[in-house]
């Protein structure tokens, strides 16, 4: 498809956005079209998990600790030390965990996906595949996006646990918090929908990371430098989108779900 020549400012940004959503829509549609690429999905799942599990775990321990320390010292000043546990759990589960997962999925897996698809595109492999009547979106993009989503959702659980454990460790050992108060304040402030929204965020962030990486990979500027630029852009665009989507989801969640005890 060629695009009409327009000189309206912002038209090309809108066009890109439109194409991005078109790709997202076709990925969703083609997910349910047979044949489903089980092998490719498993390979990608394994690959993404293997590059992201360790960095995510390593990042989430200090992150949980930082939140616990900061919230703990603030809460102590306000005389609410007994609620430190609940507060830091909310921060870790709802905000930190999905963000950490998404940043690492995008940085580690998204860049690899984008570089892979991009170099295949400039080597005409995508054209070759289309010529053979195989849709590259169905064959390559769908398994990659699904793997991103799956790994995000699962990793989110890991990060939540590791982050909360890190927070507990630092609070109890370094700030003289009591284990009992820390655990008890969980159920005072946190509730199950907090976990649901955390997983929903992880799912959506994984989807965004996968789709943006694939989109940039399928449409690189010509030449090897084009692929490099595409990888760079895919990570930056994903980060920008993540923070906006996170803001929106948090705002909606706080409006819709009443805080516990109110």
């Amino acid at each position: 498809m060629t695009s009409p020549d327009t000189s309206v400012p912002g038209a090309s940004a809108l066009r890109q956005t439109g194409r991005l959503f078109t790709l997202a829509a076709s990925v969703v549609a083609l997910t349910f079209r047979r044949p489903f690429q089980v092998r490719e999905l498993i390979q990608q799942f394994y690959f993404i998990a293997s590059v992201s599990i360790l960095p995510t775990a390593l990042v989430s321990i200090p992150f949980g600790a930082v939140i616990a320390l900061q919230v703990g010292s603030l809460a102590t000043q306000l005389g609410a030390q007994s609620l430190t546990g609940g507060a830091s759990v909310l921060a870790v589960v709802q905000q930190a965990s999905p963000m950490i997962v998404a940043l690492i999925i995008s940085g580690a897996a998204g860049s690899a996906i984008c570089a892979d698809l991009g170099s295949r595109t400039i080597r005409e492999e995508m054209d070759a595949m289309e010529v053979m009547g195989v849709s590259p979106i169905q064959r390559l993009v769908v398994p990659r996006v699904l793997a991103c989503v799956g790994v995000s959702v699962l990793l989110n659980g890991l990060v939540s646990v590791v982050g909360v454990a890190g927070g507990y460790f630092f609070n109890v050992l370094m700030q003289d918090g009591t284990p009992g108060a820390y655990l008890a304040s969980f159920s005072a402030l946190a509730q199950l929908p907090d976990l649901y929204v955390s997983e929903a965020k992880a799912l959506l962030f994984g989807l965004i990371a996968g789709i943006v990486a694939s989109y940039r990979g399928l449409n690189p500027a010509p030449g090897p430098k084009g692929v490099g630029d595409a990888v760079n852009q895919s990570v930056v665009i994903t980060f920008l989108l993540l923070f906006f989507v996170n803001l929106t989801m948090t705002a909606i969640y706080l409006e819709v779900v009443p805080p516990k005890g109110s």
Binding site: M1, E124, D127, A128, V131, G133, R139
Partner: protein, 329 residues
């Protein structure tokens, strides 16, 4: 039997730059056609338009009732399974070895067992002379081998239409001759409609039934091989002789002043080679005769009286040669 491909009023532009406009031609079912043209006249773009990879702005490409340009993706994808396209550099999947590359269409589109796939793939690799190289990755072999692997991959699905993008580029003259013979043999075996895009005169003058030529955004000519080879058209003549006498310049078209200057200094342009019209290649011994040969002969007979004297003579010569070598029935 191959499928007829009808191109009607096809025009393609990239932004303000017109590649070619109003191209109308028919690739007759089962016949071999060659598209000639200087580098950069959009031959590859034309090939990609036929298969629906690029979408020309106007016109239609009809294949068995499906318009490859305007019909929805679903129909175009289904029709593509009847195509085999050999890319200029092979376009092999870099992460798979040659065997998996060539087996790819079979695994995606058929329910054949691995045993059957193995038989077909090894047979095709034997045909293109790559037996024993199954485990190599595309990055580990030469450009000519990649090209042959690309041809093998285009052939495994027994396509009804075969498109070849410069089968000769990067090959030595001997291998080019083998590829020419291979293409004719394939045509004899599966009677597929074939279009070969090239600027190799050797292939153009010995392989096809029909020749077309693109120059300066237009289809200059399309017709039976002998008609093009005897054409009085300056562009066609210059291209077939491969010298500097004529309208084709280094960039695109020469301007009037340049042409005049050359006319004055004609002897500095090098000798003018006469065009030799060789007989058309025949399938290798042991293969059936090409079914398209008789159809092509009948079609040519119908227009024979309208052709130039030289073309009629060349056609008779070629038939006499065919008859001597056990040809037309």
């Amino acid at each position: 039997m191959g499928i007829e491909v009808t191109v009607e009023g096809l025009s393609k532009a990239f932004g303000p730059q017109t590649i070619w406009r109003d191209v109308t031609l028919t690739l007759p079912a089962g016949e071999v056609s060659v598209m000639l043209g200087p580098s950069g006249t959009g031959k590859t773009v034309f090939l990609k338009s036929l298969i629906g990879l690029l979408k020309p702005e106007t016109g239609r490409v009809l294949v068995d009732g499906v318009d490859m340009v305007n019909d929805p993706d679903r129909k175009v994808f289904a029709m593509r399974k009847k195509f085999g396209l050999m890319f200029q550099d092979g376009a092999m999947f870099g992460s798979m070895n040659l065997y998996d590359n060539i087996a790819f269409p079979l695994r995606e589109h058929t329910r054949k067992t691995e045993k059957e796939i193995r038989r077909i793939v090894l047979e095709q690799m034997d045909v293109v002379g790559l037996l024993g190289e199954e485990r190599k990755l595309p990055g580990q072999i030469s450009g000519g081998m990649r090209k042959r692997a690309g041809l093998a991959r285009a052939l495994v699905m027994d396509p009804e239409i075969i498109l070849c993008d410069e089968p000769d580029s990067g090959l030595d003259p001997v291998r080019t001759a083998y590829i020419s013979q291979l293409l004719i043999d394939v045509n004899a075996r599966i009677d597929a409609t074939m279009l070969i895009v090239t600027h190799n005169i050797e292939i153009a003058s010995t392989v096809p039934d029909n020749i077309g030529m693109l120059f300066l955004r237009d289809l200059v000519a399309f017709g039976p091989r002998e008609v093009l080879l005897t054409s009085e058209e300056p562009v066609v003549g210059q291209f077939l002789r491969g010298n500097r006498h004529g309208p084709i310049g280094m960039t695109e078209e020469k301007d009037a002043a340049k042409l005049e200057e050359e006319a004055r200094a004609a002897d500095t342009l090098g000798p003018v080679r006469p065009i030799h019209i060789p007989p058309q290649l025949r399938p290798s011994p042991g293969l059936p005769a090409r079914a398209a040969e008789a159809r092509h002969a009948a079609a040519v007979d119908a227009i024979l009286p309208t052709l130039s004297h030289a073309a009629q003579h060349a056609i008779r010569e070629n038939r006499a040669h065919l008859n001597q070598t056990g040809g037309l029935t």
